[in-house]
Symmetry: C2
Subunit: 253 residues, 2 copies
Amino acid sequence: MDEPKHPVTTVDRTLQIVEIIQELDGAGVSEIAAQVDVGKSAVHNHLNTLANRGYVLKEGDEYQVGLAFLGLGAYARKRNEIFDAAHAQVDTLAEETGELVNLLVEKNGMGIYLYQAQGENAVELDTYEGKQVRLHCTGLGKAILGFRPREEVADILAEHGMPAETEHTITDEEPFFDELDEIREQGYAIDEEERLNGLRCVAAPVTDDDDRAIAAISVSCPVHRVDDDRFYEDLQQAVLGAANVVELEHNYS
Amino acid sequence: MDEPKHPVTTVDRTLQIVEIIQELDGAGVSEIAAQVDVGKSAVHNHLNTLANRGYVLKEGDEYQVGLAFLGLGAYARKRNEIFDAAHAQVDTLAEETGELVNLLVEKNGMGIYLYQAQGENAVELDTYEGKQVRLHCTGLGKAILGFRPREEVADILAEHGMPAETEHTITDEEPFFDELDEIREQGYAIDEEERLNGLRCVAAPVTDDDDRAIAAISVSCPVHRVDDDRFYEDLQQAVLGAANVVELEHNYS
DNA sequence: GAACGCAGTTCCGCCGAGCAGAACAGGTAA
DNA sequence: TTACCTGTTCTGCTCGGCGGAACTGCGTTC
């Protein structure tokens, strides 16, 4: 999305306010006003308008994100038919592996986590359902881009850039395209601390009839706990299997 | 929430727009403008501002609810610790019974569906995660109110009223309180077509250490398919069992 | 294939809604 | 008590959101 020609600043402000509440895990009027750079009376009016519809919740002297967002969020998620096909598979994969399992889709060149399931030993990460990430630095993103036309990938990289998240992030186009070729060949992607230090992932794409990726599934685990054997054998196989089941369910039903 | 003293009409309008998109399952600018009663240029500006942040998505000539809401919604849900404790139980209950299983919490005197899981034969309803309902007309709501101080219940009823949803809805305080007494005694609530014709539910409260309800779990099924034996024996037992497990998990961990 | 009708988008000028800032209310700490 | 935090209410100014008209571009229809 390019910048709107005539942005409605009031709307931007409201969204910003809610996002700040989320970020701070609950906040008061003054606290928010300081961050948004508007007077607290204005913030107060926004909050009360939002509260009236259940979009924020007043807990004493602190405001919290309201559950009304869940209605819209769950609806938006359900519209992706891939979610229905995948979420049971993601659950069982998490149970089998005991690790953190993710489902990612691409929207406007960015990756969005559609669903997560925690296994017994799952790592705690900064990811959450609905979170947006750049595609170039995650196993999930690379799995998707590996099964997209090279031209489209170039457009996405041009639009969103390839900033380094860790010292292992691939930040140049050329090696990145080489990596994508390899991913396409082997059918899965590996992320070795490219987005987060200490974290490795195996990710497999979910493709449609035309071999175009519409989503990706990954297992994330800490580098120090999972050795190469388990990583490249068990986990890789499990992820590929799950992705395959989802693919079948999605394309032929 | 009582009416804000100084509502921000622009915010209201934006939320209204998004809700309309959800209701219509995607809509165009003109279509929305007709319903909100503002010019389409204004609607257009709102939509583009929202789209810029991922809160709506442009699909050709039609706008859709964006996944950015999922981030806030999932966050809001996760803040209710009861969700973590309950959601696996709700899943297994759905699988075991094959029916629709719901998890409801109370916020500001209204019920909000926190989570749903569909079993194999689950009915398709008008409920969805994040949906708000009045407490007096659902099994879930009654299960919660049964384990709340009578005074608090009276306040809630006074604030939100007791409109009839079907011809079976209880619309007067006195019989309602009698019903709550019974619910408290037997430990579960029954809803026989009180919110929706043709639908019956068994609901059990999840209570905290002080025997105060913090949530409720229910199984919903069509009246014509489930006979009394299965309803009052199998389902009731299953729901009570699940609620109990959740209770333990929530209160002692 | 010209003409129409419908969509979304852009532009502009007016006026009312959102804002800042001050005053008020309530609660807590020194 | 005093001081200093909150959140809330109020008022008047002004700037941003709005309506409405103009523009664009895609399908349909004749």
